[in-house]
Symmetry: C2
Subunit: 356 residues, 2 copies
DNA sequence: TTAGATTATGAGAGCGCTCTCTGAGAACGC
DNA sequence: GCGTTCTCAGAGAGCGCTCTCATAATCTAA
C-alpha cells in the first residue's frame, strides 16, 4: 500500500502535481494519463492523507456537531437524534466529514471549559453546528472568543445576533391557539417551557400574543412553567387538575405526556374534559393515549439547513484557495423554519365537553 | 490574534523551535525565556494549529468512537451512553480528542460503505474504538482492509482474533445459574440474545455450560431466542407463560422487562411464580417492578479500557517520533472484564414457590 | 587552561499535500 | 510562416508545525 502522492506519481511516471489533479478532478489531463494514474491509485489502494491536504488547503472539510449537554442526557433527548440525522445527511450530501462532539463532565465547570477549549482550538473542524444552550451557558461565549465559525440550531437568548437556524416557535404557538379557538375553546391554559431556553420563551410569547389577538384572557393559574421533561409536565398537570382550562397548550410532547398522566390520575379525560395540544411532533406524540395533537417542528431539516448555513459562512470567511475575507459582518444569517399542525386525538370541540 | 508559531517567535525574539519547545514542555530552556514566550502566547491568545502539528508528528491525538448503528437506534440504546461516557473519560485523562462517529443511512449499504470509507481513510484519527457489530457486518472487514488501528468493545463473531475489550458474558451466565441453583431452582429456562451477536452467543453458551455443570437439563421449550429488545422479551415470555420454568435467565434487562410484562399479562407473578435474573445492570433494571436481579456489566469501564488498549496499539505500531514498527503481530490483545451479580427483587427461593 | 560535559538556542529539513507559475507542444488564424 | 491561443504537465514554493543536528554558551573536572 503506497503511502504518498509522490510514490504514486513515480509509479505512474508522472509528477506529483498531475496525480493531485487526477484526484481532485482538475482540468487539462489527457485521458490516457488520467486512466493510468487512476489505475495505479486503485492498484495501491491509495488514499491521500487528509491531514496534509487540510494543511495545504487550510480547510478540513470536517464539521462538528456540538451538544452542550452531558452524554447521558443527550441520549434521553428526543430532539437530538433527528438533529444529528439532519446534520449527518447534509454532510453526506456536501461531502463533509462530521464528528459528534460531546462533553461528559457536566458537574465540574472547570473541566468542562477545558474540554470545550480543546474542541474549539483543535482546528480539526472548519466550523461547528451547536444545539442551542440554556441562557448564560459559557459555551457560546467561548466559541465567540475563540473565533470559531458556528451556527446555532435554535436561538441563543444571550446573544440575539448569532447565525442560527430556528423553528418558528412563536408562529407554532399561534397556530396552536388559533386551532384551539377554532374548536370553540376560550379557556385556554399553557404549560410553558423553561424561561432559560429560547424555545420555552418563544412558545410562551407566541401563546400570549395569540391569546391577546383573539381577545382572550389567560388565567394566571393556567400558566405553569415546566422544563420540558415528563416529570415537570406531570407536576404542572397536577397543579392545574383542580380547576383546569378546557384546553391546554403544552410546550413539549414530553410535558404533554406528563400532564396527561396527571390528568388521568385525577380522573380527567383527554380530550373530553381537557383538550391538549403539544409542541414538537416527536415520535412519542403518536404513541401516547390518546395520540397527541401537536405542532410538528422540522428538526432534521433545521440540522440540514444549519450545515448549509455553516458552509456558507465558512466560504465567505475563508474563500477556497484564498486568504481570509474582510470581516463581512453585515448581520448574521438567520433562518426560521415553518412548523405545522398535526391533528390527532388529544383535542376536540368545546361543545362536546361535558363539564361546565 | 497571532496565527503562527513563527509570528509568536518573532514577537518573543526567539526562534520557532524555542516556541515549540515552550509549548511542548521541552527541556533546556531558561526560565526567563520560557516566561517571556508564555507571556507572548497568552497575550496573543495563540493556539498552535493542530492540523499542522498532526502532519509533522504523524499523530492526530484524536480517536473516534464508532457505533455501527443508525443514529436513531443509537439513542434508544442503553449500552451506548455508558460506553461513550467511559471512552470520553479516558480520552480526557489521556489528553485525547474524541469524536463520535456515526452513520445514518442504515438502509442503503452502498451509501453506508461510502460513509465508512470516508471515516477510515480520513486520517483524522489515530485509531478507533468500535462497539462490536453483528455477525457478517461489513464494517469490521473494512477496517481491516483499510489498515485502521482499532479496538472492539465486545467480541466480533466473524473475527475472533481482533483486539477487543469484552465483558465476561460466559462467566456472568454461570454466576446467574449458580445463584438460581443456590436458591433451590432446578427448572431453569433462558431467553437468549440473538445468535448474530457475541453477547447473545456467549451468554447462552455460559448458561448451557453452567446448567450442565450442575447436572441439570434444559427443556427445549424453555430456551427462546430474542434480540435484546423489550418486544422480543415480551414475545418470548408469552411463549413460555403456559408452562414456565421456575426460574428464568434473561440475556438482557430490556428483554427481562418484556418478559415480566408478558407474565403479568398471563397472571404469573415475579418472583413468586417465576424468578427472573437478567443481564446488563442498566439503570432500567432498578426501576422495573419488581426491580431486577441482574448481572451487572461494567460498560463504562470497558470503554475506558478500550481506549487504553487502543493507545497501546497505536504506540507500538507507530512509536512517538519514529517510523512504524515492524508488524508486531504476536496475538491481538484482549481483555475480559468481570461482571457481578446484583440481587434485587425479581428472584426468590424455590421453596417459596406456590406452584408444582 | 583546556578538554569535556552540560545547558540552551537556532537553522533547516521535512510531514504529504495544493496550487501557482512556467513552459512545451499542438492547433489555429491570417 | 509566425504569432496566438489552447491544452497539458512539471517545478517548486508553500501550509504551520516538529525534531534532529549543529552550534554557542556555561559549567565542571583535572
Amino acid at each position: 500500500m503506497a503511502q504518498t502522492l509522490e510514490q504514486i506519481a513515480e509509479l505512474a511516471g508522472v509528477s506529483r502535481a498531475t496525480v493531485s489533479r487526477v484526484i481532485n478532478g482538475g482540468p487539462y489531463i489527457r485521458t490516457e494519463v488520467r486512466e493510468r494514474v487512476m489505475r495505479v491509485i486503485a492498484e495501491n489502494n491509495f488514499h491521500p492523507n487528509a491531514v496534509a491536504r487540510s494543511l495545504a488547503r487550510r480547510r478540513t472539510n470536517a464539521i462538528g456537531l456540538l451538544v452542550p449537554e452531558p452524554v447521558a442526557r443527550l441520549f434521553n433527548d428526543a430532539y437530538f437524534p433527528p438533529l444529528a440525522e439532519g446534520v449527518a445527511s447534509a454532510c453526506h450530501d456536501l461531502d463533509l466529514y462530521m464528528a459528534l462532539l460531546t462533553v461528559n463532565e457536566p458537574a465540574d465547570p472547570e473541566a468542562r471549559g477545558h474540554l470545550y477549549k480543546r474542541i474549539f482550538t483543535s482546528g480539526y473542524h472548519d466550523g461547528i453546528v451547536m444545539a442551542s444552550s440554556p441562557r448564560s451557558d459559557v459555551v457560546t461565549k467561548m466559541m465567540i472568543d475563540y473565533g470559531v465559525t458556528f451556527v446555532l440550531a435554535g436561538r441563543q437568548l444571550d446573544y440575539p445576533d448569532l447565525p442560527c437556524v430556528d423553528v418558528d416557535n412563536v408562529g407554532g404557538a399561534r397556530i396552536a391557539v388559533d386551532y384551539l379557538v377554532s374548536l370553540g375553546h376560550s379557556s385556554i391554559g399553557t404549560i410553558a417551557g423553561p424561561a432559560y431556553m429560547s424555545a420555552g420563551v418563544d412558545r410562551l410569547d407566541g401563546f400570549r400574543t395569540a391569546m391577546a389577538g383573539h381577545g382572550l384572557t389567560v388565567e394566571p393559574a393556567h400558566v405553569v412553567e415546566g422544563d420540558f421533561t415528563e416529570q415537570s409536565g406531570f407536576a404542572a398537570g397536577l397543579r392545574m387538575a383542580d380547576k383546569p382550562p378546557t384546553a391546554l397548550f403544552v410546550a413539549s410532547d414530553m410535558m404533554a405526556a406528563g400532564a396527561m398522566r396527571a390528568f388521568a390520575a385525577r380522573g380527567l379525560r383527554v380530550p373530553d374534559d381537557v383538550s391538549i395540544l403539544s409542541f414538537d411532533g416527536f415520535p412519542l406524540s403518536a404513541t401516547t393515549h390518546p395520540a397527541l395533537t401537536t405542532i410538528t417542528q422540522p428538526v432534521a431539516e433545521s440540522g440540514r439547513r444549519a450545515v448549509e448555513m455553516l458552509i456558507g459562512l465558512i466560504d465567505t470567511l475563508m474563500p477556497r484557495g484564498s486568504s481570509p475575507a474582510a470581516e463581512g459582518e453585515n448581520g448574521a444569517p438567520r433562518l426560521v423554519l415553518p412548523v405545522a399542525l398535526t391533528v390527532r386525538e388529544s383535542t376536540c370541540r368545546r361543545d362536546t365537553h361535558l363539564r361546565r
